[in-house]
Structures are given as C-alpha cells and as structure tokens.
C-alpha cells in the first residue's frame, strides 16, 4: 500500500555565523493513511525542524518529501500553495499562532477562500458567503467552540480556545495530512486533557492522518498507534506504539522511558540515568549519534552509523548491537 507521506533522507542544516548546525541528518519514514504517528524526542532532537521541512516552511538541505506520490520538493511556489490544502499544521503556542488583528472568522475563512472552497470566487474581503459560513459553523462545532466566537479576536479568547481555533484552521480545508507540533504543551495542564480528548475524537471522526510531535510520551501513548523516536537529528527507533513503549530496543529509548515518572507508587523501577549531554551537532555525525552516551558502545559505533533496520514485526531500530 502506498504511504500517504514519505520522507526520504531529509537533511537540514542551520548556519549561525561561522558555525553550521546539523539539525536533521538523514531522516526517513513513512506515514500511511489514517495513521496517527508520534514523533518524539527531547528538545534539540530535530523533530520540529523535520515537521517544518515536511510542511515546506523551511527548505531542507537535501532529501525528498512525497505527499500521495507527489514530490513536494519539485513543485513551484504556486503548485506548492495549491498542495497546501491537503497538508496542514497545528502550531505549538496559541498565543503567537493566530494573527492578533484577525477575527476568528477571518482566520478560518481565509484558507477556504484561498483554495476557492467557497460557493463562488469571492473577493477575500467579502464577509458572508453562505457556503463559507456553513463550513465555519460546522468546523467551530467540531472543535467545541460556540459559533458566536467567530466574531471575537484572539485576545478575547482563553489559551484553550485559541488552540481550538488553531486546530479548526488546520482541519477546515479537510486536509489529508495534519502535523501537530506540541499542540498541548503550552497550555495549562487542566486544559491539556481537553485538547487531547478533542484530537482523539477528531481522529476518529475525520479519519485524517496525523503526525503528532511531542516530548510528552504519555500523551503520545494515548493518541498514537505508531511512534518514531528521534535523537540528535536522527530516528533511532520506530514501531507500533505498544512495541516501542513496552519493549524498547534502543538504549536511548529505554533511558527516555525510564525517566518518565509513573503515577503509581507501587511500581518499582530501575531508572536508567544517562551520562553527559546530547552532542552539539556542529559536524555531520559520522558514527552513531548516541555512541558517546551509550553504555554498550563499541568501536564500530564510533565510526559507522547504524541503519534503521527491522528487528522483527515492523519494529525498527538503529543500533549495531541489535542488527549484528
């Protein structure tokens, strides 16, 4: 079956003065229709950069992104804009992701108008096109917002409400693929669960395909059926959520999981504490990105990067120890 999204050897570097930072160095993965895939990792691992490259908000240094077979890197600006109807993003901080001068109505109607999803081609300034209005109302209800809020400005909304508007904006064109960049992290913890419940419901109702980026593994476990673990710009482990969470193969994944506190005092766990810090990525990584911190590193690990290989049943891991 053809994947909806295919990312091939994505590489992204940033220049900071004299220094080059290899934020993403060779990321490849697939997302199939209807899946909810979690992209997890700690700060600086490159997950947000990867998402922005997929959405074409930044240009990758190399690599390809295929959406339903179309190579997005070969498209002109105009062609890409047409594709944007099918690929959307929800941003992390609701306080900066909405234009403060736009009413909710304007923010939500804009994607419809840009992609000519109204009844007829109307000027972008015109207010009430009935088809558009209907769509607006329907989408507002879907995200649990009263349609009366359409005439409000972002500063008149709470954080949770603003984030719902962000979600509404992303789904209103009925895209095939939505990337969500830590959609609940900036919110109060009491609101977070509401947004997560909403996302779960939308997933079931709309059958969209999600890439859910987060550092919060508990949320990812609840929402996603597949997980990709990133470290220092590369994917180190991937597989079905249950497999990765319950039988982690990569040492980093194990350390990461063991670091997460479990809300159950009866559970006794051995915490795996990592030495050192993530590499500073000033050069393209040669060996395994994790070898300096891995207790089972061998000389091979320093010189040769391990490929992401199937260790059985779709559970992929990039580790010499496992792939032999």
């Amino acid at each position: 079956m053809e994947p909806l999204l295919r990312v091939e050897e994505l590489v992204k570097t940033f220049r900071q003065g004299q220094v080059t930072i290899w934020a993403v160095s060779g990321v490849s993965f697939e997302v199939f229709r209807g899946e909810a895939v979690g992209l997890v990792g700690e700060s600086g691992c490159g997950k947000t950069t990867t998402a922005r490259c997929i959405l074409r908000l930044i240009r990758p240094a190399s690599g390809r992104v295929y959406l339903a077979g179309t190579d997005l890197s070969q498209l002109s600006e105009r062609q890409m804009r047409a594709q944007r109807r099918h690929i959307q993003m929800v941003f992390q901080d609701p306080n900066t992701s909405l234009n403060p001068r736009f009413t909710v109505r304007r923010t939500l109607a804009e994607p419809l108008r840009l992609h000519h999803l109204g009844a007829k081609q109307v000027s972008l300034l015109q207010k009430k096109d009935p088809t558009v209005e209907e769509r607006l109302h329907e989408t507002m209800m879907r995200v649990n917002l009263e349609p009366a809020f359409l005439d409000r400005y972002p500063h008149q909304l709470s954080g949770g409400q603003k984030q719902r508007v962000g979600i509404a904006r992303a789904i209103i064109t009925e895209p095939q693929f939505v990337a969500l960049d830590e959609p609940a992290s900036s919110l109060d913890m009491s609101i977070r669960i509401h947004i997560i419940a909403l996302l779960k419901r939308l997933q079931a109702e709309l059958g969209m395909t999600y890439l859910f980026i987060s550092h919060d593994l508990s949320t990812v476990r609840a929402l996603c059926n597949r997980v990709l673990v990133m470290y220092a710009g590369q994917i180190v482990e991937a597989g079905q959520a249950d497999d990765v969470f319950e039988r982690p193969l990569h040492h980093y994944t194990r350390a990461l999981l063991s670091a997460i506190p479990i809300p159950d005092p009866q559970t006794r766990r051995q915490r795996i504490l990592l030495e050192g810090e993530p590499p500073n990525l000033f050069e393209q990584p040669v060996g395994c990105v994790f070898h300096e911190r891995c207790p089972e590193a061998r000389p091979l690990c320093r010189d040769h990067q391990a490929a992401l290989l199937d260790a059985g049943g779709g559970h992929l891991v990039a580790c010499h120890r496992i792939s032999g």
């Binding site: 922005r52 908000l57 804009r81 992701s97 234009n99 994607p111 008149q156 064109t173």
Partner: protein, 308 residues
C-alpha cells in the same frame, strides 16, 4: 505563575466590560501630554477647516494705507467678529492682514505635512516590509540606500532635492518625503524582522498565502504601531521643514501665504521694530509643531513605555 493568573483573571472581567471608546477616553485622561497635544491640534485643524470663514480679509489683497499696523483688537467686542479695521495680528508691509494670511497658510502647511507623511509612510513601510521579509540581497541593497539617505540631515537633503526639482509645492512634498522615507523603512523592517519569526507568519504560509499577502495583509498591519508614532513626529517635522524651505526661498515663494514665507517676509521688519510680522507666523509654526510633538511623545510612552 499562579499569582499572576489569579490577579489577572479578575482583571479580564474589567477590561472586556469597557468598550473601546471609554478606553480611549481613559487613555487621554491619564496622559496629560496627549490631551494637551490633541487640544493644540484640534485648534489648528479647526482653523484649517473653517478657514476663510474666520476672517473677512483677503490675504492677497494689498492695502498700502494700512501697512505695518501693530496688532489691534475689535473694538465692538467679539460678537460682531472682526470688524473692519481690527487686525489681531497686525498687518505686514503690504497692508495685508497677517491673521488672514496665517489662516490661509495653515491650509497650505497642514496638507503639505500630511501629504509628506502619507507618502513617506506608505513607501517606507512597503519597502521596509519587503526588505525585512526577504532578507538577503534585497535587504542589503535597501539598507545601503537607506544608509546613504540617512547620511544627510533631512533638511539639507530636502533642500538639495527641491533645488534640483524646482520650486513648486509638489516638489517640496516629494523632497521632504524622500528625506523621511528611510525612517519608515528602518522602523517597519525592524518590526517585520520580529514578526516573521512568529508562528502566525508560518501559519499564514501554511494555509496557502502567497508572499505578498503574508507581508502586507498579515504582517504589516501588526507592525505599524511604531511607524504611526513616528508619523506623528514627522508631521511636526514636516511643518518645520516646509516652512524652513520656504523661509530660505526654496519651494513655495511669495506672495503665497505659507508660514515660512510669512516669517521670511517679516524677518526684515524686526530691526525696524515691527516684530509682529514674523513673530506671529513663527509662533504659529512652533505651536503646531509642538502639538504634533506632544501627541507623538505621549503615543510613544503609551505604546512602548519601556523606552521612556
């Protein structure tokens, strides 16, 4: 922090219950400089609007019989308005009533000032936005041009351009506008550099906006505040610059009753003791520029108090 949330939560109730008009009134009340500036401008703009209705004298008609008369007030009282023979600002050496000429001058200087600022703000913001958004070569070129323009004091630059283009009102406007454009380029570029890093710029891209819409429909309207504050300041400068040019004989020439022309014409009379011919027009220039400056100052305090 929980403390801020609690205290702020109760505050939300207060601000949403106040509508925009009451908030405006409250702002004016809390900033005395703003109030003062607005009052001054109100007077000036009223004069511009009412114009000739305020005085029966023809500003261009000469009457050598009453030349160089000192300021005199209507004898019959204000009810009858300015009766014949009363000249609150005196007459000049051609017997023209100075007050009438000042009033007509207002109808020249103020529109000039507003035109200058409109052009400078318009062009400057658009170029600055382009420069800030794209960066790279475009930005470098624009910045170097701006640097060159900034190298000259704005008045000197305006002088040079007016001299080059010729002495007409429109050329004065163009010349001064060109001198101010760099300010707006720099301000809007600075704001755009900040704004383009915000998520809503990316979001606008994400939903399918072309670059020009992202720049001019999404970003620029959010970045105008410092430019608008600068614009009020430039209005004051424009009055001074336009008058200054006219005083030096560039741009507007006599007998057009522009304020700078009036000051220039009256300047030679000071030695002979007929101070009113240049002092009144000069005072009016100062008064108007002061009004703009006060408004601009208080706007700056209101919108960016940390730079106080």
């Amino acid at each position: 922090m929980a403390v801020e949330k609690t205290a702020a939560a109760w505050d939300v109730a207060r601000t949403t219950k106040e509508n925009a008009l009451r908030r405006l009134w409250r702002t004016i009340r809390e900033h005395r400089t703003l109030l003062a500036g607005l009052l001054i401008l109100a007077v000036v703009l009223f004069v511009v609007a009412a114009g000739p209705a305020l005085t029966p004298y023809d500003p261009l008609k000469t009457n050598p019989a009453i030349k160089l008369q000192p300021p005199s007030f209507p004898s019959a009282g204000l009810r009858t308005g300015l009766s014949e023979g009363a000249h609150p600002m005196g007459t000049d050496n051609f017997g023209r009533d100075i007050l009438s000429r000042v009033i007509h001058g207002a109808r020249l200087d103020l529109p000039i000032a507003f035109s200058v600022v409109a052009i400078a703000l318009g062009i400057g913001s658009m170029v600055g936005t382009l420069s800030g958004y794209y960066g790279g070569l475009v930005d470098d070129v624009v910045m170097r041009v701006t640097d060159v323009l900034f190298a000259f004091p704005s008045f000197i630059l305006a002088m040079a351009i007016t001299a080059m283009l010729g002495n007409t009102t429109s050329n004065v406007i163009i010349a001064i506008a060109i001198a101010y454009i760099p300010y707006f380029i720099r301000l809007s570029r600075g704001e755009i550099l900040k704004a383009r890093e915000l998520d809503y710029a990316d979001a606008a891209r994400c939903v399918g906006n072309p670059d020009w819409r992202i720049m001019y429909v999404h970003l620029l309207p959010n970045c105008l505040t410092p430019s608008l504050v600068q614009a009020t300041l430039c209005l004051g400068w424009a009055v001074l610059d336009a008058s200054g040019l006219a005083f030096l004989g560039l741009g507007i020439r006599p007998p057009t009753p522009e304020w700078g022309v009036l000051v220039s014409e009256g300047a030679q009379n000071i030695i002979s003791g007929h101070w009113w011919t240049s002092v009144f027009p000069g005072a009016v220039i100062v008064f108007t520029a002061l009004g703009f400056n006060l408004v601009s100052d208080s706007l700056r305090d209101i919108t960016a108090p940390e730079e106080r």
